[in-house]
Amino acid sequence: MNTVNARSAGPDRGRLARTGGVVLLLAAAVALPFVSSSPYVLDIAIQMLFYMALALGLNVVVGYAGLLDLGYAAYFAVGAYTLGILTKTFQVNFWLALLAAGVFAMLLGSFIGMTVLRLRSDYLTMVTLGFGEIIRITANNLKITGGPTGIFGIMAPKVFGLSLGQPRNIYFVMLIVVVLSTIAMARLGNSRVGRAWACLREDQDAAEAMGINTLGYKLLAYLTGTFWGGLTGAFFAVKMTAVSPGSFSFMQSVTVLLAVVMGGMGSVPGVVLGGALVILLPEMLRAVSDWRYLVFGAALVLLMLFRPAGLWPARHAGKEEV
């Protein structure tokens, strides 16, 4: 019984268990704000949602197209600053500013992508790191970005009558964003575009010979990933009501990368899980927070040695569906 698409075979037990698990998780997520009213739990849950969204975005660049980007925080920053500047300094309507945040991050992504994509993979990594630092320093120096203090007092907009200033409302908006992104990314991974990325990740020359415009598709991965980063950055600005260069450091990029790598590069459920764990684990370790980055560093090394495919590996990584 080996039809090409095992998934379309009748409702086998594997698929039922998986959809059951997802429904259970969603129910828990929706119920959370009502179960516990303490702002701390809500804040942690919101942070988890942010990192899930970021991990989904970075996953396109690192997981799907295999480009190790170490400056992802820059697009997060551009999104946050764009929204902050547009809504606070120029009183632009929220939806417009949100879109602008994504588009600006994407424009920056396309500029960097164009300069970077022809490079060998390790050079590309260093250049993205360089761009990340340049953008953080620029945000820190310019007047329009409020210099080192950044921009504070960003008004929370009303979305369908709910003020995003309320933690519970921003929680639900981000939950919707993450759920939609997860679906979109899962479909993308399993489509013609996703296959093209998989091919260029496996063997770029062979992919080119098969009629895949490898440079074009790498750029497409960059545009998708940076748009997502910018969008999430805009929501981050609304949630924090203040945006400062401090929160877009190299460590931020490393944390999002860890989420993708720990969860499983190229695996949508994996990176969502990674996004949650990368916030949850340090919170559990709060008592011994000096050790946080030590544990991050060790985790990266051990993961690469023993579990390069991550906690929830992508289907491609070494497991056949016969």
Partner: protein, 256 residues
């Protein structure tokens, strides 16, 4: 009007001239073999034709149109598909997915249609799957559809690479030593496959060392030595051409 015309192509790596002033043509429907001792520049000319190398001078015209300067994926779209000398499959993708990759330039689904999973996208996905199965069946690998290509036996991987190339519905199929490492039985089925490909209207151009295979299958041969064409013509005349024998002197005498 030839399907492919290589005109006075010269390729240099720094000081070294890999190919010097090479010209030959391939007409639709014939099976041309490119032969010559190791290092004669066979794979190099293949890379020039398919766009991986930029020749220093000369012209490459395909289907009446110059393809110089086009990147490889553009040439594949125009109808030029290839296999590789040392098997460049996608190891962690299944056989079916490898073949579907070949069909990339014949399908259109983009970022948004994939994310929204529009009816048109779903239809195209089904069609691509069926087409992949068709080509797997064509090379006799239908039952290996879901296995990772890296886990397939060597002979099967060779045939998978051909299926992948055929999936891009080419006019010209460049085969780089397809018979390398095959046992006699596999060579026989390879020959039938190449004939079947030609019946399907695709013109094969192959590099091959196995003289017996080349002699039986090719309608015309082009012989290279040190980057230069030293002979061209039907297999019989080429076999007796003194320069060809001399070029091959010192290699083990290839029995007929």
């Amino acid at each position: 009007m030839p399907l492919l015309s290589v005109e006075n192509v010269t390729l240099t790596f720094g000081g070294l001239t890999a190919i010097r002033d090479l010209s030959f043509q391939v007409h639709a429907g014939e099976i041309v073999g490119l032969i010559g001792p190791n290092g004669a520049g066979k794979t190099s000319i293949f890379n020039c034709i398919t766009g991986f190398y930029q020749p220093a001078s000369g012209q490459i015209v395909f289907d009446g149109r110059s393809v110089l300067g086009l990147r490889p994926h553009r040439r594949t779209e125009l109808g030029m598909a290839r296999t590789f000398q040392n098997l460049r499959l996608f190891p962690n993708l299944t056989a079916a997915e490898n073949v579907m990759a070949g069909a990339h330039c014949r399908t259109r689904a983009g970022l948004f249609t994939s994310m929204l999973r529009t009816p048109a996208q779903r239809l195209e996905e089904r069609q691509v799957r069926e087409m992949a199965l068709h080509w797997l069946e064509f090379v006799g690998l239908k039952d290996q559809a879901n296995r990772f290509s890296k886990n397939l036996p060597y002979g099967a991987q060779r045939r998978l690479e051909i299926a992948r190339a055929m999936a891009s519905q080419p006019k010209l199929l460049l085969l780089d030593e397809p018979a390398a490492g095959l046992n006699p039985a596999e060579k026989e089925s390879l020959m039938e496959l190449i004939y079947k490909i030609r019946e399907g209207g695709v013109t094969p151009l192959l590099i091959e060392h196995d003289m017996s295979l080349v002699m039986r299958i090719c309608s015309r041969l082009v012989v290279l030595d040190h980057g230069e064409k030293i002979a061209e013509g039907d297999p019989e005349s080429v076999r007796n051409n003194p320069r060809v024998i001399e070029a091959y002197l010192g290699k083990e005498e290839e029995g007929a």
